[in-house]
């Protein structure tokens, strides 16, 4: 993966730059020692590593503003970073850029049950928000699997999801307001404790912008009361098709489960060997359907889901009868990634989304690809919303296998786009899928997106080299080709 060429003139001024940053962030907030910077050289996409030029750890919004303003003025690239849990390389440093770490922004600022909101600094973890309100029975709904470590600031950058998206939405549907700093140092507040922000929905475009538009320094999210009851059904199917049909039938019955997760045979076996969740091993696919809500509703719907599953040809159905049993059903699914890690030296986790009806086709084509690339694949699948996580098994020590795994992954994502889906459902484009963007978007589509960046960061200094395969100067993007003349459509009715 080619990153922007480091600017030698910037690297030559490293000491001067570090001193200037120390004037803004005094004490231990500026790191230049290689050993100390080592922890910042990669994120959760560990295949890529790069030491940054300098790491800055500001404590206040004012410091963030001054750091960005300074970098903007002298043309230094900035990579913002939360906990570094990005699976797509979103926080991968640049050799001639600084890492702006938000780890010291770790305070909960306000808990407001009357308005059902929590306001925090961006370095607070996703789970930290829930933990702060759990004693009153509240929680923050989006629950990415890294929730114990990932920060809410990072969640906004990536528009993080989780297993409950179909019913409760992604980050973008649960954030009410932010304070952010633009590359020029401007501090901008969007939204607040009210339900919709005014003017253009800049909060909407910031969420999922992968740190390319601004640095979030404060976040207000909405919180929900915990459901009264949670119960799960574990259903085994003789084929992935019947499992997929069952998902469609549940939705057709007007039921939107809190979670609906599917695993294929290789994933079932890997998980079962690892955590002994009691998954059936003689089936091709399992589906975990979790229903949450008022007790009477959950009990009613459990019956409905059981009946639907039976009609769909399920070969095994188990309903959780206790909280422990529900957790056991989930244990296998939640351990699916490490379980696959046990049966293979390395694996790549993909993240495409497809229209659900295309699942049988995609699984069949994936089996063909598996044969062609000579690599095994296990599938876990957010069945409710069509988000696939194929895990490609490979051994990095065998020559050529990493390349084969990456090629296999690219083929899967191209297939997702081909059937009407997208390259990434929740992990982000980052550096990992950057060069695949051309399969989903035309150059015109991408230029239209990149022009938004020009409004926020006209010199392209914030997290360059991520998301978009080509860096364009804003002057170039701004150029217009206008053909003067007659209304070119003579038949266009006019009156």
């Amino acid at each position: 993966m080619k990153m922007p060429t480091p600017d030698a003139s910037v690297l030559a001024r490293r000491v001067e730059i570090a001193n200037a940053l120390r004037a803004i962030v005094p004490g231990e907030g500026v790191i230049v020692e290689q050993d100390e910077m080592r922890v910042y050289e990669t994120d959760a996409l560990t295949a890529y590593r790069q030491l940054p030029m300098i790491v800055v750890l500001p404590k206040t919004t004012e410091q963030v503003s001054q750091v960005l303003k300074y970098c903007n003025e002298i043309g230094i690239k900035v990579v913002p970073r939360g906990a570094g849990t990005s699976l797509s390389g979103g926080a991968l440093p640049l050799a001639d850029g600084i890492i702006l770490g938000l780890g010291k922004f770790n305070k909960i600022l306000d808990i407001d049950y009357g308005n059902r909101t929590v306001t925090v600094q961006p370095g607070v973890t996703n789970l930290g928000i829930t933990n702060a309100v759990a004693h009153e029975g509240f929680y923050y709904a989006p629950d990415p699997s890294s929730q114990i470590a990932c920060t809410i600031g990072g969640n906004i950058a990536e528009n993080s999801g989780g297993v409950h998206c179909l019913k409760y939405g992604l980050t973008t549907n649960n954030v009410l307001g932010i304070e952010m700093v633009l590359m020029n140092g401007d501090i901008v507040r969007l939204g607040g404790k009210h339900l919709d922000s005014d003017g253009y929905d800049l909060l909407g475009i910031m969420t999922g912008s992968e740190g390319l538009l601004g640095v979030v320094t404060e976040v207000t999210v909405r919180i929900l009361k915990k459901p009264e009851t949670l119960r799960a059904v574990l259903i085994g199917f003789p084929s992935s098709e019947t499992g997929g049909d069952c998902v469609a039938a549940i939705i057709a019955a007007g039921i939107i489960p809190g979670g609906m997760e599917m695993m294929d045979k290789p994933a079932i076996h890997a998980a079962e060997e690892f955590v002994h969740a009691g998954y059936p091993l003689d089936v091709e696919a399992i589906l975990i359907v979790e229903l949450d809500g008022p007790e009477a509703e959950v009990n009613h719907l459990i019956g409905e889901v059981e009946a639907i599953a039976r009609k769909c040809g399920a070969v095994s159905i188990r309903v959780s009868s206790s909280e422990d049993e529900r957790m056991v059903f989930w244990a296998g699914r939640k351990a699916a990634f490490p379980a696959v890690g046990r049966i293979s030296p390395d694996y790549l986790c993909m993240d495409g989304t497809i229209p659900r009806k295309e699942l049988p086709l995609v699984l069949n084509r994936m089996a063909e690809m598996s044969e062609r690339h000579g690599l095994r694949v296990a599938n876990v699948f957010h069945a409710g919303d069509g988000n696939l996580h194929p895990l490609i098994l490979y051994d990095a020590n065998k020559p050529g296998e990493l390349q084969a795994a990456e090629d296999f992954g690219a083929d899967i994502l191209k297939l997702c786009v081909e059937v009407g889906g997208v390259l990434t459902g929740e992990h982000g484009v980052g550096v990992e899928k950057r060069d695949l963007m051309i399969y989903q978007f035309t150059e015109t589509d991408m230029n239209q997106q990149q022009r938004v960046k020009c409004a926020f960061d006209p010199d392209g200094l914030l997290n360059p080299g991520k998301v978009f395969p080509q860096l364009h100067r804003c002057a170039e993007l701004g150029r217009m080709h206008i053909h003067r003349g007659q209304l070119p459509f003579p038949d266009l009715p006019r009156f």
């Binding site: 179909l166 607040g192 919709d196 909407g204 509703e297 009613h300 229209p355 009806k357």
Partner: protein, 407 residues
């Protein structure tokens, strides 16, 4: 001379935009024209009437997705969804009658462009939360697509969010794709009468803090209760309403829970399906203010717990009446037409204390030209908004000045 351009399809719409760009002639984008009185009055050389860009592209109930050309009437799509026991969960209001027009005329593109949302906003979000993708024409005269047709999608910037609620100032939508959801099997409304505004806000907060999945919470003070036009509501008493939706056994169960929870606030009554539907449609479409067309109507979005304070503050300084939706977070306010500049200073000062914004929804052109229709923004935010407009529509072809002067 104003030209009325009426492209027959998206290709012609693209040509029309290109021509307007070459002429540097601003366009007013119009579907069925039900929202022309929304926003600031502005000067456009030509009208681009896209009402022929109508018709379903696809609807896949099992996939919970629908795609249609931008000027497809909402009524058509809602009828189609109802046949399949589905709905747009954000429950878009129909402002036709409020703005002096007909009901049932608005288009899906108009709903998305204004990011409308009804009482279910507290649970299901607004149009922007259901808007998955689109095809559009840019201010550079290029056809582009954004987003997709699946719910889980973080590929590139979320341009659909930016376009939703941009009042047609950033691009011309030609085709939109939205998430749809199952319609509830049944619905019932829990009703408490006679509460003052502040107590009502507390009652609604209690409901919204409960685990009983409230699908809307509104409060109509006594003076406006008749204007709702629902007989079962009775006359001359305030009504605080909590909507329950879902499967029969669940509604029954939750109704019982609320009866217990609200004991101590007065007698708890219920509106069954038909009157409940009528009540929420009236709240959604601002019916209490439809029959007094001379009054100026404001829409205030505030932290829900601030609702009563903001309304009382304004009413103590201006001749104004208000009712509350979104648990207090949405205030519909009618101001006497004699009030200077529609009372914007008083209203925005009251809102400003706790955060939020006020939009002037209904007022004569002259008033909307002199008052700020949209909430004035802080300098850094206003500058950013102006740069966003510049980036998407550098020649200011699309509805220029409809939201802010110069944007």
């Amino acid at each position: 001379m104003t030209t009325h351009l009426k492209p027959a399809d998206a290709a012609q719409a693209l040509e029309a935009v290109r021509w307007a760009i070459s002429e540097e002639a601003p366009l007013e984008l119009v579907g069925h024209g039900t929202k022309r009185a929304l926003g600031r009055p502005f000067q456009a050389t030509h009208t681009l009437d896209v009402s022929d860009l109508s018709g379903l592209k696809f609807y896949e109930p099992a996939e919970l997705v629908l795609s249609a050309q931008a000027a497809t009437p909402m009524a058509e799509l809602e009828a189609l969804l109802a046949e399949n026991r589905q709905q747009f969960a954000f429950e878009p209001p129909d402002f036709g009658p409020l703005l002096g027009g007909e009901a049932g005329k608005q288009t899906i593109g108009g709903v998305v462009s204004c990011n409308l949302a009804g009482p279910r906003r507290v649970k299901a979000g607004a149009a922007r939360d259901h808007f998955l993708g689109c095809k559009a024409v840019s201010g550079r005269g290029e056809a582009f697509k954004a987003g997709g047709r699946v719910v889980k999608n973080v590929t590139g910037y979320d341009l659909p969010k930016l376009l939703a609620g941009s009042y047609g100032t950033l691009a011309l939508l030609t085709e939109v794709t939205l998430k749809v959801l199952p319609a509830p099997e049944n619905t019932r409304t829990v009703l408490i009468r006679g509460l003052d505004d502040a107590t009502a806000i507390r009652v609604m907060a209690l409901a919204l803090q409960s685990p009983y999945e409230v699908a809307a919470a509104a409060h109509v003070p006594a003076a406006l209760a008749d204007g709702v036009g629902v007989e079962e509501l009775g006359s001359g008493t305030a009504a605080t309403a909590i909507r329950l939706e879902g499967f029969g056994p669940s509604i029954e169960y939750r109704a019982g829970k609320f009866r217990d929870l609200f004991r101590g606030f007065g007698s708890v009554e219920f509106l069954e399906r038909e009157p409940s539907l009528a009540f929420w449609t009236a709240v959604r479409d601002v019916k209490p203010f439809v029959s007094s067309p001379e009054k100026l109507v404001w829409r205030l979005s505030v932290p829900p717990a601030d609702g009563a304070r903001v309304a009382a503050d304004i009413a103590s300084r201006l001749p104004a009446e208000a009712y509350f939706d979104w648990g207090g977070g949405l205030i519909w306010l009618a101001v006497d037409p004699t009030v200077e500049r529609a009372g914007q200073e008083v209203i925005r000062e009251a809102v400003g204390l706790g955060g939020g914004h006020a939009t002037l929804i209904r007022a004569p052109d002259t008033v909307r030209a002199s008052a700020d229709v949209f909430h004035p923004q802080a300098a850094t935010l206003a500058a950013l908004s102006a740069r966003v407009k510049e980036s998407q529509d550098p020649k200011r072809i699309f509805n220029p000045g409809r939201m802010y002067a110069g944007v």
